[in-house]
């Protein structure tokens, strides 16, 4: 390939010039407009999809939460939808359940993949096989995986897989999804099994970027395995750990398909009702799209609060 030299033009700091924007001698206004038009033409398809299916619905959702539509007539009702939604007793149950799920999922679905990744990273054999195994459930359609749990693992009779194991170990069996206390832990187990593969792979990638000398030095200083994890592994993967914590919180707050399939929606004594399930209920069963929109906005605000805390915490450390 012939090497062509492009005459130097003053550069904006930090950004290499594009050959299209950095054409020298002919920077007439017409040319510039034309270059920009070309650029925007390539963008238009994606931008339109964002406008219609993302940016506009965002604004529309906020507007809908303050409106009421009856017989094709839309009126502005202020905070009415919000007060109606909050007055509903299942609102608080749903938030309680969702938070409970999020906390359990942080303990199980967040810590476990990290330690699994640390362990897998030490192995020099069967690496590929183990990685495929952990990621396999991620590829199942969630409905398939959840029916598996619902019918086999959480069968409340002794024919269920978990009960059969418990019985073999001479431990008391459980009613699983039929018992309000077990509903959440059972959903978290199913959800962790389904989803942990992604997190494990991302941790593995970031573990492989830790310079070996750090462990070397720590070992020379007499640090045992646990102290090496605490003082080398965790600080070195801090950014990824923080990012995945955030993603995990956002993902678990949207808990929906687990209650829908495992617990037929609300579950025993409303123990499975989640905020996302409530949005679905209001919007698509009670024909209360405005109430559902208001719930969506509340969820957005709560998550924005989490994001703000996250940004603060990570900014402080840098």
């Amino acid at each position: 390939m012939a090497i062509t030299t492009v005459p130097e033009t003053p550069r904006k700091p930090g950004r290499p010039p594009s050959p299209y924007s950095a054409r020298p001698q002919r920077t007439s206004l017409g040319r510039k407009v034309r270059d920009n038009l070309t650029g925007h033409t390539f963008l238009i398809g994606a931008v339109l999809c964002f406008v219609v299916f993302s940016w506009y619905p965002m604004i529309r959702g906020i507007m809908m939460s303050f409106q009421r539509t009856r017989r094709g007539e839309t009126t502005w009702v202020g905070w009415d939808n919000y007060s109606r939604i909050i007055a509903d007793p299942s609102f608080w149950t749903a938030w309680q359940n969702t938070f409970y799920f999020t906390v359990l999922a942080l303990v199980l679905g967040y810590a476990v993949p990290f330690f699994v990744a640390i362990m897998l990273n030490e192995f020099r054999h069967a690496k590929g096989y183990l990685r495929i195994l952990v990621y396999l459930p991620v590829m199942l359609p969630p409905a398939s995986a959840l029916f598996l749990f619902k019918f086999y693992a959480y069968d409340p009779s002794e024919a269920g897989l978990f009960n059969a194991i418990l019985k073999a170990l001479h431990l008391p069996t459980s009613q699983w999804m039929q018992s309000p206390e077990m509903t959440m832990p059972a959903m978290v187990v199913a959800s962790t099994w389904m989803n942990m593969g992604g997190a494990v792979l991302i941790y593995l990638a970031s573990l492989q970027n830790i310079p070996g000398e750090l462990y070397e030095a720590a070992e020379l200083d007499g640090a045992g395995i646990w102290r090496r994890i605490r003082h080398v592994t965790i600080p070195q993967t801090r950014l990824i750990l923080a990012l995945l914590a955030m993603l995990q919180i956002v993902a678990t707050m949207q808990l929906f398909i687990e209650p829908l399939i495992l617990a037929n929606g609300a579950g025993a004594e409303d123990s499975a009702t989640s905020v996302a399930y409530l949005i679905y209920q209001h919007g698509f069963f009670q024909n209360d799209l405005n109430g559902a929109a208001a719930l969506g906005v509340i969820m957005l605000v709560v998550l924005a609060g989490f994001s703000a805390v996250y940004v603060r915490l990570t900014a402080k450390q840098d």
């Binding site: 030490e122 952990v134 396999l136 590829m139 398939s144 994890i229 956002v250």
Partner: protein, 295 residues
Amino acid sequence: MAQDSGTRTLISHAQLSRGRGRVIYWTLLAVVVAGFTLVFLGPLYWMVTGALKSGQEIAQTPPTLFPKDPQPQNYIDAWNNLALAKLLFNTFYYAVGAVLFQLVFDSAAAYSLSKLRPMFGNVILALMLGTLMIPAMVLIVPQYVTVLDLPILHINLLDSPFAIWLPMVANAFNIFLLKRFFDSIPEELMAAALMDGATPLRTLWSIILPLSRPILGVVSIFAVTAVWKDFLWPKLVMPSPETRTVSVGIYTFAGGTPMNVVIAASVIAAIPTVIIFLIFQRNIMSGLTAGSLKG
């Protein structure tokens, strides 16, 4: 990605390859391989064989490890009663369309943002990336209402594949992945093409895209699995039995169907994505790690 020999990890290789360390290493490896096989493959085995059992055998305690009297009839019933062929075809059709739409629009956008850099490109990229912060559940209601009556055009997209294809184009993660990859293609190549009088479209087609095959593959696989795994959105926008996806179909039929038939259907629904994964697992894994930040 640094790997294998040479790089030292938490525990030094020397420590693992002699004496007590060696024994512990091999024991632990054996335990983990056995444990993982049991935990991740076991349920799948249970699913495939369970669907072969009779209703009576499923309710039996203790559960049997092998079906005593295999009933392939369950799979046949699932295939026929749930019209699985139609459901699978629908899902496949949506997946292929989603791949095409994403490849065309998202790579064009990423190309523009990476190489053409029009005015406000950075603002547009920031607005796109901002949507990654908005959970899908928050948008579900207004998105649904929008699909019922598209702004300006006043078209109802219910039961139309475009209701799945077009929203999937608005995928900031894929645009980000593609842009990062295009960024790594040297500007000199672009400049050379420009000197030869190539139009931007021509440069995209004959220089950028051929060099980007790996990332295009990753994006395609992500699109296929996203369609295969999605549940609530297709449930809402594809309400007719004729347009349903396979996940939604199984869910809808689960109510009045014997459970081993539902499980048989779940197995059949899982086969395509599992096969895709086993074929493309290398690409999937590299795509996952390419998208993550370096910690």
